[in-house]
Amino acid sequence: MKRNTNEVRGSTSDIISNLPGSIKETILVCLPIQDAVRTSVLSTKWRYIWTKLPQLVFDDNFCRESARKSKTELMMTIYQVLLLHRGPIPKFILNLSRLESCPEMDQLILFLSNNGIQEFTLLIEKGEPYKLPSSFFSCEQLRYLSLRSCVFKSPPEFKGFSRLLKLVLHRVFVASDTLSSLISSCPLLEELSLKRSFISDCLEINAPNLRFLVCCEIYGSSICLKNTARLARVSICYFMGIFNVEGITQAETSKLVTLFGSLPVIEFLLLEYHTIQYMSAGGVPKRLPTTLNNLKTLKLLSICFEEVNEISVILCLIRSSPNLEKITIVVRRWETADVIDHVLQLLEMQDWSDVSLNQLQVVELGNLSGTQSELKFIELLLAISPVLETMFIQTDSERVADKGLRILTEVTRFPRWSSHAEIKFEYRDKDQV
């Protein structure tokens, strides 16, 4: 065989042209469209390979002149490529920063809907939000959909995307009931990501196969989790509204208890203080009635160690998650120092003798200023974590004097249950940032 390949190379030393067509295709998929099209003039063996490419990616790198082209020129180039392309286009990405939303996109989507589109990404940067045409709603093969700056208004006969696995909506204008029914009519949906959207009424998330949920910068009334027993990764950031679980509206029920009751297999949780403060409404129990046995990673952003509400939610989550492997907390600035006592009391009063985080290996604490309650919290974590490997502490340089030496001295004094726990300390200078 070795001899054979050498013979093939022969005088031309042509190595890549003799590769099987499927491999040439894999190589071309890794290239920007311009380079892929260019290979058609290499030799007859390459001439038509690119025309059967299963994916077309029109982003800012698709050709070198794309940054200088006008909207019309860009559309012309896209049309030319589509005219020469043969066969189905399962994957199509349109993400050109210079391309404004325009009516010509309707024809593009019509073309794609007739060519077996399965993975569709349409990210619009400039111009008015783009109103999706009716042909979009007939793309029944869709498995992956990502939209930015679009208006999603489905026709009455729209039955959902029955094969959709992943849905990403960024700055998409959609009525809450439309979105609710879209989600519930995609029975296979595993990933849902909503960013910078406004929800006018209650958004109902009814998705029995959902594994990942991201809600970021959502403004609106409420989100209601219904039938989400498989949710494993949840990230909720800057959610200005109410997070709800079906059937629970009375304020006297603890929101925290009902929310986590509907997330039995959660593995990864990222929260930010708005959500945490909301969760503290209706009272925070010492421990959740359902143990979060699968929770491995807990990330909490913009936390204030002087806010009793926030800290009590965090303590409740830590108590209820015996298998945590990693905790990350980033602190936000807080000017008044009057209420510190409450948190300190909370931390000192609670009995932690029955709690141990037997899997906890990594703790990351960012933006610390070394308040009493922060130090108390560090002491607590060191005392209940037998296999802790690293505690990473980074300080807020504007609020910490003496390069954080006081914090470091205090922290190294605390007893550690884990004999090989390492404390990594980072002081970032204002000038260096």
Partner: protein, 155 residues
């Protein structure tokens, strides 16, 4: 009878007759070998025709690294991949053929990415010299696409 240690090991024999003892988890990263093992048509020694000892050793090195570093940072693995595939064209061709024939997806992807990097941004002229030898008679000057993008390369 094979002992418990040997139970998880397989012997791969290259086209030129050299034998390699490899953990089964590593060997089955090749889908072709995996199918043979699952169908129980693999005896003690699995022949790997068309792949010589030199290339087979490289493929095994790649699979071992990928098997070990599942928990490692993805960026480390990426660095390893890009260094691993950075080879002369002959080895590259043989590796691609082996990865394709034995169906080792990770390796094939890394190799194809590498070839793509070699083509990316280069002029047609340059690619011809690099890969094809310079064969002027094959230039298709009448090609439509040529007129759109490719003629600039010779400016």
């Amino acid at each position: 009878m094979s002992s418990s240690l040997e139970k998880n090991m397989l012997i791969l024999r290259s086209s030129d007759g050299e034998e390699f003892i490899v953990p089964e988890v590593v060997a089955v990263m090749s889908k072709a070998i995996k199918n043979m093992v699952e169908d129980e048509c693999a005896s003690n020694t699995i022949p790997v025709p068309n792949v010589d000892a030199n290339i087979l050793a490289m493929v095994i090195e790649f699979c071992k690294k990928h098997d070990e570093s599942e928990a490692e940072a993805a960026s480390d693995l990426k660095t390893f991949d890009s260094e691993f595939v950075n080879r002369g064209q002959e080895a590259l061709y043989d590796l691609i053929t082996a990865a394709n024939f034995r169906d080792v997806k990770e390796l094939l992807d890394a190799l194809c990415q590498n070839v793509a990097e070699m083509i990316k941004g280069k002029s047609v002229h340059h690619i011809r010299i690099q890969f094809l030898g310079y064969q002027l008679f094959e230039i298709l000057t009448s090609n439509f696409i040529w007129n759109i993008w490719c003629d600039r390369d010779f400016d």
